[in-house]
């Protein structure tokens, strides 16, 4: 999640070619003679990884559980696909994680407002005073 400074940092202040410099390829083992091309095979792809929206997904669980869990599953796919060099798949999973987190957030907020409104209106008068210790 952090963005460490260093010679491998892909960011360049000029802004001309932010993805020009290559980050270290972690998948390179002694058995592999050369780094595989980006997007195929193993090793971290070049460029900026996609966001996995993991924290948003977790917060979504508090609002609306099921879409939040789906979002976390796609968050996992972002990291696993990026780790195996599938940059396109990682970006696709990132988009899906965002969609599900957004769906969960919207449903949760709408549901929450409706729920508070209905409770205030006395629709659930018999259940509003739920006894937590029972």
């Amino acid at each position: 999640m952090s963005t460490p400074n260093g010679p491998q940092d892909p960011y360049q202040p000029s802004g001309e070619n932010p993805y020009g410099q290559q980050p270290p390829v972690y998948g390179q083992q002694p058995g592999y003679p050369a780094a595989p091309p980006p997007g195929y095979g193993y090793g971290t792809p070049q460029g900026a990884p996609p966001p996995n929206y993991l924290v948003w997904s977790i917060i979504t669980i508090l609002l609306c559980t099921i879409p939040g869990i789906v979002a976390i599953v796609f968050s996992t796919q972002v990291n696993s696909k990026w780790g195996t060099g599938d940059a396109a798949g990682a970006y696709d999973a990132s988009k899906k994680a965002k969609t599900w987190a957004l769906v969960g957030t919207i449903l949760g907020v709408v549901g929450l407002v409706a729920w508070i409104g209905l409770t205030a209106a006395g629709v659930f008068a018999s259940t509003a005073t739920y006894n937590w210790n029972s």
Partner: protein, 141 residues
């Protein structure tokens, strides 16, 4: 400096996300700190608890937040251990978000796959465990 102008406004717009989130969170914290969720009638009962009768992984977060905002760490841990442990992670994530927005630098690192997978597994285990009556004294809200 003509060329830097659109870039600066883009930075300003990028900062709206993390800063707006901080304002909304602070406002919610003021409400949760002052309006006690332990008193019946202050907040409606969570629909998922009311319908299913089971504690979801988020159950007790409101009461944990209230306890924590009033300096009661032990009480907060008793309400929802996982929510309290998640706070440093969420804060670190917010700082990284703010930093990316302020500097304009793209993300340069992604955690290994088992970090989100482990989070999901932890949530599932926590959900099951806190609904087991024998474990309820520690894990249930």
């Amino acid at each position: 400096m003509e060329p830097s102008r659109p870039r600066r406004s883009a930075r300003g717009r990028a900062l709206l996300g993390p800063l707006g989130m901080a304002v909304v969170t602070a406002a919610a914290a003021v409400v949760v700190a002052t309006v006690d969720p332990n008193e019946p009638g202050h907040y409606p009962t969570c629909p998922s608890l009311l319908v299913t009768g089971f504690f979801c992984p988020g159950c007790g977060t409101l009461r944990a937040a209230h306890a924590l905002l009033n300096g009661d760490l032990a009480g907060a841990l008793q309400m929802n251990v996982l929510a309290v442990l998640a706070i440093p992670v969420v804060l670190a994530s917010w700082v990284a978000w703010l930093r990316r927005a302020a500097t304009g630098r793209p993300r340069s690192w992604l955690a290994p796959w088992w970090v989100p997978a482990g989070t999901l597994a932890l949530l599932v285990v926590f959900t099951v465990a806190r609904n087991i009556p024998a474990l309820a004294p520690w894990l249930a809200p």
